[in-house]
Amino acid sequence: MTRFIIIRLLQAIIAILGIMVLVFFLVRAAGDPMELLKNPNMTEEQFELLKARLGLDKSYAEQFWVYIGDLAQGDLGTSLLKQRPIVDMIGESLPNTLKLTIPSFVIGMTLAVFLGMMAATRRDTFWDQGVKFVAVLGQALPGFWVAIMAMLVLSVYWKLLPVAGMDTPAHYVLPVGTMIFFMLPGMMRLVRSCMLDVLDSEYIKLARIKGLPERTVIWKHAFRNALITPLTTLGLLIPQLVLGAVITETIFNWPGMGRMIVESTFARDFTVVQAITILTAVLVLGVNLLVDISYAYVDPQIRFQRS
């Protein structure tokens, strides 16, 4: 087990280094980053000064060492636009993103598991049809449009909910709802199909033949096994969560990481976008590592096969 974890950890570190190298060269291959900062009001001298301060006057090799060294020390660099350390900017916006993401994740997952289970155990009933219908809509309607239409009806016409801000619980309803819209359909469908698979297995039939009450069969025998696959695909939920956070924060003017990266993109503040890209890579690989380890923990076959 230890060996397995170490191998996986090393692989993850190599992958992160690979992504850092890729990002470094991508930013520079597309042209001189200084081109983005050119400003007609700037004198030649100021321009050279700025270049030197950003370390862009050195050779690529030197720049690369500085970049890797800074990252290793947890220094993500300075925002070109705001002239502030990126770590400070993230320190301000990350809590706001978490305030949005954590409730959405908890509510969304609970809903997905509950609805998926209802659909699987009551197949071809109202529940099942309802879940399928929501899944079809959720995979076809663009989340940003649904959020805007909800805003139109609930905030503009009926004036039930505020449009933007984050002071009262009412301010959370629409943003959290939008986030849930992004992750619910996929997860719900997955829980449903895994539960159906499990219900079809021999040991469930045996449990029923033994005469166990249906409640015990479903919640004690089937439920836990049905959740293994959804748990191992949590890593695949990250893209949905990031997409949901960026879109939701942009629509509702939520001062989090998502809005920060979109604003930095339009300001061409490449140091900020670069830093967030690398942080995302660390998040993705970290979650995948945790999922791998927990999976190996749950399922001994994986542990022995690979180490």
Partner: protein
């Protein structure tokens, strides 16, 4: 052994009913094919015939107006079916007096061309890497599949934003951003299939006959992957149109005056309190087209490769 076990009433999984489909069900099943198929055919026709000028023909087409031409006297007019609407503008006009219907029609071009281009690029790369991983196996397989794992769980949006920061927003940015990670899904599926096909007798036979690895990969493995590949490609049409609209909504897609459905919704967001139609109609177009694409993809999958169900 099994036959002595009494059959139990399995409430959860009723046996599939093959006979006695009610008439209503049959009609519904038919509709779930014909309506989406009609929508997709209409989409293609609308995109082609919006205006014929690009084919070198006279400047006529089904689009009532030029998408970027503002009618200064007719700004923010509601759709024709509403009280103050004018019959000249069926779906109303926007802040600059541009016809919403014409813009929705031209937006179809962007959605369709981006999604087709991305699907061709990603399917090509994914197939190449998938066959290599599945057929050659070993370390090559291990490496490719690790990259696939990362690509599948890396948020494409972040990459798109990084690209937009470096090379600026635009058509190319969208296509590249969607392609860079999009191949991974194809690679995983093709690899699985290739692993299976590698075991078959005809591949062994070819190897005995002295066929080269490349020849086996392209003449023997590839044709057998093709069915599944086509299924995944059709299933991706909706997903790619949706992804393109998200990127355009955020503003990293096709630049300003050219209409795309996502950017139209973004425009409409600012006029929400006085002109809901600017945001509403392009969104309905996206939803309708994506849903049709998904239904059609499901249908093709059930016909060509039912094993891919539950994917």
């Amino acid at each position: 052994m099994l036959s002595i076990i009494p059959t139990i009433e399995d409430k959860a999984i009723p046996k599939p009913k093959f006979s006695g489909l009610s008439r209503g069900t049959r009609i519904l099943r038919g509709l779930s094919l014909y309506i989406p198929a009609t929508v997709m055919v209409l989409l293609v026709l609308v995109a082609i015939f919006a205006n014929l000028a690009w084919l070198g023909l006279p400047d006529v087409g089904i689009s009532p107006y030029e998408p970027n031409k503002g009618h200064m006297r007719d700004r923010l007019l509601p759709p024709a079916f509403m009280e103050d609407g004018k019959s000249d503008y069926l779906l109303g006009t926007d802040r600059l007096g541009r016809d919403v219907l014409s813009r929705v029609i031209y937006g179809a071009r962007i959605s369709l061309s981006v999604s087709l281009l991305v699907i061709l690029i990603t399917a090509f790369i994914g197939t190449l890497l998938g066959i290599t991983a599945g057929y050659i196996g070993g370390r090559v397989d291990g490496l490719i599949m690790r990259v696939v794992d990362v690509a599948l769980s890396f948020p494409g949006l972040i990459l798109a934003l990084l690209l937009a920061t470096i090379i600026g927003p635009g058509y190319v940015t969208v296509v590249v951003a969607l392609s860079v990670l999009g191949w991974a899904g194809y690679a995983r599926m093709v690899r699985g299939e290739s692993l299976r096909i590698r075991q078959s007798d005809f591949v062994a036979q070819a190897r005995v006959n002295g066929a080269s690895t490349l020849r086996i990969m392209f003449k023997h493995v590839f044709p057998n992957v093709l069915n599944s590949l086509i299924v995944i490609m059709t299933l991706m049409v909706g997903a790619m149109i949706l992804a393109e609209s998200m990127l355009s909504y955020l503003g990293i897609g096709i630049s300003a005056p050219t209409p795309s459905w996502g950017s139209m919704v973004a425009d409409g967001r600012n006029e929400l309190d006085r002109a809901w139609w600017i945001a509403a109609f392009p969104g309905i177009a996206i939803g309708l087209v994506v849903m049709s694409g998904n239904f059609l993809g499901d249908w093709i999958r059930d016909k060509m490769d039912p094993r891919l169900r539950q994917l």
